[in-house]
């Protein structure tokens, strides 16, 4: 998967402005009169300082091609060696107009190649299981199911959840991908290419530990409201029977 150019709304500001502004004095300044030069130079300097500081504050830097390749390899090896995963999670739903995020907690189970159980236990009981192209729902004891074969959104949602747990979305040509380092971990931006999917999720950001395990997933909606899922207590390759994935 080729790395995409940084999108001005989403990526590392330093690289973006560096690429755009560094050539400016060389190419344009000889054509400007002195006052204009001073004005442009001052603006240029101001923008540069602002972005140097904002970059320091966020502590986020873009990975080199070699570093990104290395991360992809680490995550892929990690995913290939994984047969089962169990983990707890805390979900924060952020809506700009609310006073605080809506917090819910739950757990998940994954069994290769594609069995997923995603369950909320607090403050409500709700579980979904993806199995054989069917979505099984247990909503506080009320059971239902939905055939999702041919439903593009649900198929992608299933892939997304599976890949979020395993972390191996890099080979997927449905996303533009950008790689960053942040606070000693890796942050990867996935931007869906499909217009119908973008209507649902504009982008999602995954944070990986240096060992290549998924720590957080942030799904960003077109309105910039988001859902942040933070994983904890992750256990891999423990025996999980298929009964674990029954409704």
């Amino acid at each position: 998967m080729p790395m995409t150019n940084y999108n001005s709304n989403l990526g590392n500001p330093i690289t973006y402005w560096h690429n755009r502004l560094i050539p400016l004095p060389v190419s344009v300044f000889p054509l400007l009169i002195k006052e204009q030069y001073n004005l442009v130079f001052r603006n240029y300097l101001l923008i540069f300082i602002v972005f140097v500081f904002s970059a320091k504050l966020t502590g986020q830097t873009k990975l080199t091609t070699e570093e990104a390749n290395s991360l992809r390899t680490t995550v892929k090896q990690q995913a290939e060696a994984t047969t089962t995963i169990t983990s707890d999670f805390t979900q924060y739903k952020h809506l700009d107009f609310l006073s605080s995020d809506i917090e819910s907690k739950g757990n998940l189970a994954y069994k290769a190649p594609d069995l997923v159980r995603w369950a909320y236990v607090e403050p409500f009981s709700y579980a979904i299981i993806f199995k054989n192209n069917t979505l099984y729902i247990n909503d506080n004891g009320n059971k239902s199911n939905m055939d999702v074969q041919g439903n593009k959104i649900f198929t992608q949602l299933n892939q997304l959840i599976t890949a979020s747990i395993r972390g191996d979305l890099f080979e997927d040509d449905q996303f533009d991908i950008a790689y960053f380092k942040k606070d000693g971990n890796y942050l990867v931006y996935f931007i869906p290419k499909d217009a119908q999917f973008v209507e649902f999720i504009k982008a999602f950001h995954m944070t990986f530990s240096p060992a290549g395990e998924v720590m957080e997933v942030k799904m960003i909606e077109p309105s910039d409201d988001y859902t942040l899922i933070v994983f904890s207590g992750r256990k891999v390759n423990q025996a999980l029977s298929d009964a674990h994935f029954s409704q």
Binding site: L95, F97, L98, S223
Partner: protein, 202 residues
């Protein structure tokens, strides 16, 4: 024959009778209450409900979120449990704005039902037209949109709202498990279409 015609006439007149007459309401003097419905009236509260919708034989769920942003100004959002927004509406005075709706749900009929139901649910102080006594309840007749609504209060606590049409009960809004101006359970039951929305406070 005369008895048959009399019965038919009686049946016809009963059928045409107003909702208060049919239910034996006693008209009393109207005292304008400052607020009839306090359940979404606190602007410092994030109202979050687990929603269960039964419609036309299908059941689905999600989270129903309401925030009061000012006087007669509310934002309502419905999301999946995982957090994806299905619709996002703003109600301000008589204006209604769709901030976002999933393409699959963007149907005029559905939007009109939701708009009317949420408008009733969020209306704090509708203009009272008549006041009645019914058993131990005080019932306020008010107009929301073009429809008559009856607010049932027991000891000044709102228990239900009934929307009527042609003198008949069309939609019931039932409030229960009430604690300090917060209804832990809300049910919106439609009598003319198979639609029930159950909201449980979380």
């Amino acid at each position: 024959m005369r008895i048959f015609l009399s019965s038919l006439l009686a049946l016809f007149l009963t059928g045409c009778a107003s909702y208060p007459n049919k239910n034996g309401f006693q008209s009393v003097e109207t005292l304008q209450e400052t607020s009839l419905n306090p359940y979404f009236a606190n602007d410092s509260t994030d109202y979050v409900y687990k929603a269960n919708i039964e419609a036309f034989g299908k059941t689905f769920g999600g989270l129903f979120i309401v925030k009061k942003l000012g006087t007669n100004h509310h934002r309502t959002v419905f999301t999946t449990e995982i957090g994806n927004t299905l619709f996002d509406f703003t109600f301000q005075e008589d204006d209604f704005k769709i901030n976002r709706i999933l393409k699959e749900m963007d149907r005029k009929l559905l939007i009109n039902i939701l708009k009317k139901d949420f408008k009733t649910l969020l209306e704090e102080s509708p203009q009272i037209l008549q006041t009645f006594k019914h058993n131990d309840d005080i019932v306020y007749g008010a107009k929301i949109g073009s429809k008559k609504h009856y607010f049932y209060l027991d000891h000044a606590v709102l228990q239900k709202i009934i929307r009527t049409g042609g003198g008949k009960e069309k939609v019931a809004f039932l409030f229960s498990k009430i604690e300090k101006n917060y209804a832990n359970k809300i049910q919106i039951v439609h009598n003319t279409i198979p639609l029930t929305i159950t909201l449980s406070g979380i």
